[in-house]
Symmetry: C2
Subunit: 336 residues, 2 copies
């Protein structure tokens, strides 16, 4: 029998791998938001000296990884694996960053859930004795995402109120067998849930049921209740999705209103005119690796459930009349 | 110290997870090739009753997984995780298959190396006690790949001699803690290698150095030599890439000519007019899950090193003048 498994979908990490360092880079708009002081580098512009937004995104991802590794004091040669993914077709931000970084590379795709997927698999590698130090990361970029998934920015399309603003940035974390806080104690990998939403301008509504499915599964598998956590943090449901998630959880007997936030609601001020809130792989990644991590070091929070959500559509699937399959992966991060 | 790590990039799976079943589905052209008798289902046409090639690819992937699970005699409820990826933007074949299958899902992207990446991570989950049964799979489809990566089929472009033919099909395997042959004993996760190739019609040449890097690393990490294996099997280097890989390995002191094959050279007969050979995620997946697995059960082969290779480009990266970053992941499959 699998000795490190709880219930149906949850891994219990008995050796509780540590997050020994993180790094975050964000774009200028994110740097004007309420979490600005938690980010390591705020860019002056979105192109970051490169010839395309895609190359800028790759550079942001690569530099966030280098920064996290440097802060960890683990020599480059002791970083055993690099786990990463992003939103771009064929995850080119991650693959091209991996080319320059040189670490053995595992490419992942979970859309905006990728930071939790990579932390989950990375923590499993350390917990299982397959590695002592891995670095995980993810990125997104408003300009690369808009032109790939929606419309070229140049066309100046109007955004509906449900639209979310893709975060420009990257978050990286070094996960290690070194025993120190905070630790990754549990991982709940999610199922794909599709409740029939098809509006690519309303991802929060589409993703909320996946977040709920994984949160309920996490509670059932671990026997924990919402009160166990100082904060339950969904990835990027934003204003519409967050309300739906809270309501659906209430219907299932879980009231999380007292200790629930969503990264998509935390990144920008209401007057920054992003409509429903923030999204993108970098949303959960920079909030977790920036704000959450730094406040956990100060013990403001001691028990966090990160539930990063992803919408697994493509432009092709939408053009072919498909609805939006969604997923959420949860990671328990705790000071022990 | 990581107790299940050998050298720089290799995992030693002490509990030697088993491949307890596999399934393969291929298209009609693959069904006319030399390995036809090893495949479980040969389609009469590439559209498989669906309204698009993308939907057909998803169906092929889903049905290969269902078939592998059925053959494993593991109840659906005991399949704990599904690990998969494919070539399409946002890996929609895998994500939409996961939606219908219902298993907790980890999306991966390693281009044509995905079968080895998924077997590697899946085997790690079983070996580390995180799961008892996982199913891994990957797919590709000639028609979806051509129109996404190259030109619409309707335009009837001429293919150069270095071009490879993307395999239409899917391969799936159930990896289990049940002690039976064949076993996954070692996994060597690769680094991204880019020697400056930029021709999207010559992937074999681009990927060969990545295969060589991982093979050399595997030998150095494990202390094994080429003779240890009954067969060293690269993913889809095809005729140009295979020659380059052999020559580069010779320069590094490893002569593998006696026991080396490439899946891209095995799928089609020379007179099937595919030019350099086969490619696609399904190439290594169907050869391994079909021919190799069935011959290992008969003990024709007892020690296999699968080295699946992937070209991590996108159309955007090519349009922006980038060369092709490549990767190879190796999995030792052995009868103990």
């Amino acid at each position: 029998m699998a000795t490190k498994k709880l219930g149906l979908q949850t891994l219990k990490l008995e050796n509780t791998p540590s997050i020994i360092s993180t790094a975050t880079i964000v774009g200028p708009k994110e740097g004007e938001g309420p979490l600005a002081k938690y980010f390591d580098l705020i860019l002056a512009n979105s192109i970051y000296g490169e010839k395309s937004w895609e190359k800028a995104e790759k550079k942001i991802l690569k530099e966030a990884v280098e920064m996290a590794v440097k802060k960890s004091h683990v020599p480059n040669s002791d970083i055993e694996f690099f786990l990463a993914g992003d939103l771009l077709n064929q995850i080119i931000s991650a693959s091209f960053a991996a080319r320059e970084l040189g670490f053995p590379f595992l490419g992942l795709y979970g859309a905006c859930s990728t930071i939790a997927e990579s932390m989950g698999i990375g923590a499993m590698m350390v917990d299982g004795g397959f590695a002592d130090n891995v670095v995980v990361a993810t990125s997104s970029h408003f300009c690369t995402a808009e032109r790939q998934f929606r419309m070229p920015l140049e066309s100046g399309n109007q955004r509906p109120p449900t639209a979310q603003w893709t975060v420009t940035g990257a978050g990286a974390a070094v996960i290690s067998s070194k025993p120190q806080n905070p630790r990754i104690t549990h991982v709940t990998f999610g199922r794909v849930i599709d409740m029939g939403s098809s509006d690519a301008n309303d991802m929060g509504t589409a993703m909320a049921p996946a977040a709920v499915d994984t949160i309920v599964r996490h509670f059932e598998d671990t026997g924990r209740s919402p009160e166990y956590y100082d904060l339950i943090l969904t990835g990027d449901l934003a204003s519409y999705g967050k309300d739906i998630a809270e309501e659906l959880l209430k219907q299932k007997g879980y009231n999380i209103s007292q200790n629930y936030s969503d990264c998509g609601m935390m990144m920008f001020r209401p007057d920054q005119d992003v409509h429903a809130g923030a999204s993108g792989c970098a949303c959960a990644a920079t909030v977790t690796c920036g704000y959450i991590y730094k406040e956990m070091l100060k013990k403001t929070f001691n028990k966090i459930l990160l539930v990063a959500t992803g919408a697994l559509l493509s432009t092709t699937s939408t053009q072919q009349g498909e609805t939006i399959p969604c997923i959420a992966h949860a990671v328990s991060i705790e000071n022990l």
